[in-house]
């Protein structure tokens, strides 16, 4: 293929034709598959930011190079977007003209009977001279479209194959529209809620919240969820979780009428177009911290993050109101066990024999420095360690400038709150796509011609390679022969 002289409109038209050609579409399709691979082999920021950070600490130079090519954000990268946008332009360029052609073809009559029927896939002759009436009857019985001429009939059936084909490709466009709506108007956030506390759906309640470009925080659904009770069941042999159940009290408005609802892993709560999912859980030890004068400077549950499947959890307790400021690096162990290599760790995820291990730090928590801090970590740069203790339930530890009491614990749950306005379109698109696919793959499209000359010629052409045409032609041949025999008999009787 040689490129023509490139000039303005001509070159545009040339580009358009190249882009919408089948070969380009095939290459783009394969390219999309290949481009998706690195994202499954390298950690991705959207799914596993911790692993990405690990990559940066382990091999900073390589990580920086990978990052330059957006290999930690493959599915949002310009090059990945470029491939699927080109593919969809190519798809639209292919499918719209084809839909138009097909709409015309449905209304048109079958093509004229070609001259040389013996070149078709299936060809046979019958030694008789009349066939058109009987063939027409057979075609009508079998719902073919027909065009009858003086000496031939051209018949076609199976237009729904192309209908299915067009439907499939159009519904891919519907899915893409759904995805675009989700990413521009949707939101996705999560919040850790201690059991016993209430979540109010306002932007400040979220631990993290990502919103689409055109999402306004006024469109946040109004609701509150109180976490009443959380039950986790674990297998006593494998320690694997078997069931999580969160009992809640929900209300559509703050202070409005409330109702009890149960939230489980596979059954989210629904508020209009917003859904709430139960995603993770852990423990919040409840502590009371006092200063030298035994005045309470901190009291309440502090969420700790699980570190393993048995919920050995770590976190930080920060007490900025104490003088001097006090911080604790803590480790909550629901069922204590010990080993020489790991020290204290949890042997079972349920809190059968809980311990709270703390190291006490004194100094400047640097919470006013303006740099955002993790609530689960203590910045000990300007602090000094003044104590270390493993506590049982209700035990109090005194470290000179104050005391800490391990009062108990409460589970916390991580609620994921999602508004996804495009998902219905994606679902409808998917269902239509499957219907289209089934129709286009399993419909036989075929043409049959019957021509009368010195003898009767019958020919057939199957557009996709599904069997059945041959037996259909046998049926038609039988029908014509039987019909003719009957006529001969009737004529004889008349004589």
């Amino acid at each position: 293929m040689s490129a023509p002289e490139l000039s303005g409109l001509g070159s545009l038209r040339y580009l358009w034709r190249q882009l919408t050609s089948m070969r380009t579409a095939l290459i783009l399709l394969l390219l999309l598959g290949i481009a998706a691979i690195p994202g499954s082999l390298l950690p991705q920021r959207t799914q596993n930011p911790m692993k990405v950070r690990e990559y940066f600490t382990n091999d900073p130079t390589l990580a920086q190079w990978l990052d330059r090519f957006k290999l930690f954000d493959v599915y949002g990268s310009p090059w990945f977007s470029a491939i699927y946008l080109l593919l969809f332009i190519s798809l639209i360029g292919c499918v719209l003209p084809r839909s138009w052609e097909h709409a015309k073809a449905i209304r048109a009559k079958p093509v004229l009977t070609p001259k040389n029927l013996d070149r078709m896939d299936f060809y046979r002759t019958i030694d008789t001279t009349s066939a058109l009436d009987s063939a027409e009857a057979w075609f009508k019985k079998n719902r073919f479209r027909i065009q009858r001429n003086a000496d031939s009939i051209s018949a076609e059936k199976g237009y729904s194959r192309e209908t299915g084909n067009v439907l499939f490709h159009l519904s891919l466009i519907v899915i893409l529209i759904g995805i675009a709506l989700s990413s521009s108007l949707g939101m996705n956030g999560s919040a850790i809620v201690n059991v016993g506390e209430r979540f109010i759906n306002t932007p400040t309640s979220y631990d993290n919240l990502t919103t689409g470009r055109f999402f306004s925080s006024e469109s946040l659904q109004h609701f509150t969820i109180t976490a009443d009770k959380f039950v986790a069941q674990y297998n006593p042999i494998t320690n694997a979780p078997e069931d999580y159940t969160l009992s809640t009290t929900i209300s559509k408005t703050v202070g409005g009428s409330s109702e009890k609802k149960v939230l489980k892993v596979n059954s989210p709560l629904t508020f209009g177009s917003t859904r709430v999912y139960l995603q993770a859980n852990g423990y919040s030890p409840i502590v009371t911290v006092t200063d030298q004068s035994r005045t309470i400077v901190f009291q309440g549950p502090v969420p700790f993050l699980p570190q393993d499947a048995n919920l050995t959890s770590t976190g930080a307790i920060k007490v900025p109101d104490a003088q001097p400021q006090i911080g604790f690096i803590g480790s909550f162990v629901p069922t204590i066990d010990r080993s020489s290599s790991r020290g204290a760790f949890s042997a079972f995820p349920e809190a059968l024999d809980p311990r709270l291990l703390v190291s006490v730090w004194e100094g400047d928590l640097q919470m006013d420095s303006g740099i955002p801090q993790s609530v689960y970590r203590l910045d000990t740069n300007k602090m000094a360690r003044i104590g270390l203790k493993e506590m049982k339930l209700n035990e109090t530890y005194s470290y000179g400038v104050g005391t800490i009491t391990f009062n108990g614990f409460t589970p916390w749950v991580n609620l994921q709150i999602v508004r996804d306005p495009g998902k219905q379109y994606a679902l409808i698109g998917s269902i239509l796509a499957i219907l289209g696919l089934l129709t286009s793959l399993f419909t036989r499209q075929r043409r049959i011609w019957v021509k009368v000359g010195k003898k009767v010629e019958i020919a057939g052409l199957a557009k996709n390679a599904i069997d059945g045409l041959e037996s259909e032609l046998n049926d038609l041949t039988d029908w014509i022969e039987r019909f003719n025999e009957k006529e001969i008999k009737q004529e004889r009787r008349k004589k």
Binding site: M22, L26, G33, N188, N235, I237, N266
Partner: protein
């Protein structure tokens, strides 16, 4: 019977079926060897001798299939759920579906020549399942407790079985094609179907199962929406399912629209099938993400 008794029974049945599959494999091997020799000696098969062995081999395979069915069923009963909770269970169910598909197809088509490769494949799958992948019977983690498990995983297992069958046939096509271009088929290959039949067969299998694979992905997306809060998240398993889908979509386009046939099409089919295998092995065992249910 109690759960542990049923689990024990399941193990015994799976072991017995492995034993019977081995016997059936030996008979298929003898049958193949004899037909090859008969063919070499006088140009035609000594049908009487091989026929008997082939019949016994198929009868044994049917017996092994029934034993394995019992094993899978007992496993399901012992855990009170469908037996698709970890990779050991995927593998024994997969082997069952694969053998079942072959035995059903055998009633309609003359596929006896496939008996030897099929029994080798089943032995490999069951062998790895028992030695490397075995995990005690246990209930499911909360995210798997859903009716979608039955819908999504059964669709995925069936599509996988058929993809692999299409792959086997495409590979056979390439081997025979090479032989023919170098001067003719070897003795053992003479009883295999024509190249054109192989080519058509692998295409038909893919065309038949591609909508089911599409459905498996969509069912998975619907389930992910209710369990994980999003219908698509580029989890490694999802990504590879998508890659497999794209590869087979390219294959179908290449065949139907661009008119690819024979060698080129067979290679594309193999490429698409290997993305499925990669997904099953790599993502389950070494991968990260939310689909790591292998229990390893």
């Amino acid at each position: 019977m109690s759960s542990s008794q049923l689990a024990y029974l399941s193990n015994n049945l799976v072991y017995s079926s492995l034993f019977v599959f081995t016997l059936s494999f030996f008979l298929f091997a003898i049958e193949t060897a004899w037909s090859v020799r008969a063919d070499r000696e006088n140009g035609v098969f000594d049908r009487a001798r091989t026929e008997k062995f082939a019949r016994i081999a198929i009868a044994l395979m049917t017996l092994a299939f029934l034993l394995l069915f019992g094993g899978v069923l007992a496993r399901a009963l012992s855990a009170h759920r469908v037996p698709w909770g970890n990779m050991y269970e995927f593998s024994i169910t997969g082997a069952l579906a694969f053998t079942g598909a072959y035995l059903v197809a055998l009633r309609k088509y003359n596929l006896r020549w496939l008996g030897l490769p099929i029994s080798i494949a089943v032995l490999l799958v069951l062998g790895t399942a028992i030695t490397l992948l075995y995990r005690p019977s246990a209930p499911l983690v909360p995210a798997l407790k859903s009716t979608w498990l039955v819908v999504h995983v059964s669709a995925a297992i069936i599509s996988g079985g058929v993809f692999l069958l299409a792959n086997t046939i495409a590979a056979t096509y390439l081997i025979i094609e090479r032989m023919e271009s170098r001067g003719g088929r070897n003795a053992w290959a003479k009883r295999l179907p024509t190249l054109e039949t192989l080519d058509q067969l692998s295409y038909r299998l893919v065309a038949f199962v591609f909508p089911l694979w599409t459905f498996a992905i969509i069912a998975g997306a619907i389930w992910a929406e209710s369990a994980w809060g999003r219908y698509w998240g580029w989890d490694p398993k999802e990504t590879w399912a998508f890659i497999t889908w794209v590869a087979y979509a390219a294959y179908l386009h290449a065949r139907v629209t661009a008119g690819w046939k024979g060698k080129k099409a067979a290679w594309l089919c193999l490429l698409a099938g290997s993305t499925f295998l990669f997904n099953y092995v790599y993502v389950n065992v070494w991968g990260t993400g939310r689909h790591t249910y292998s229990g390893l």
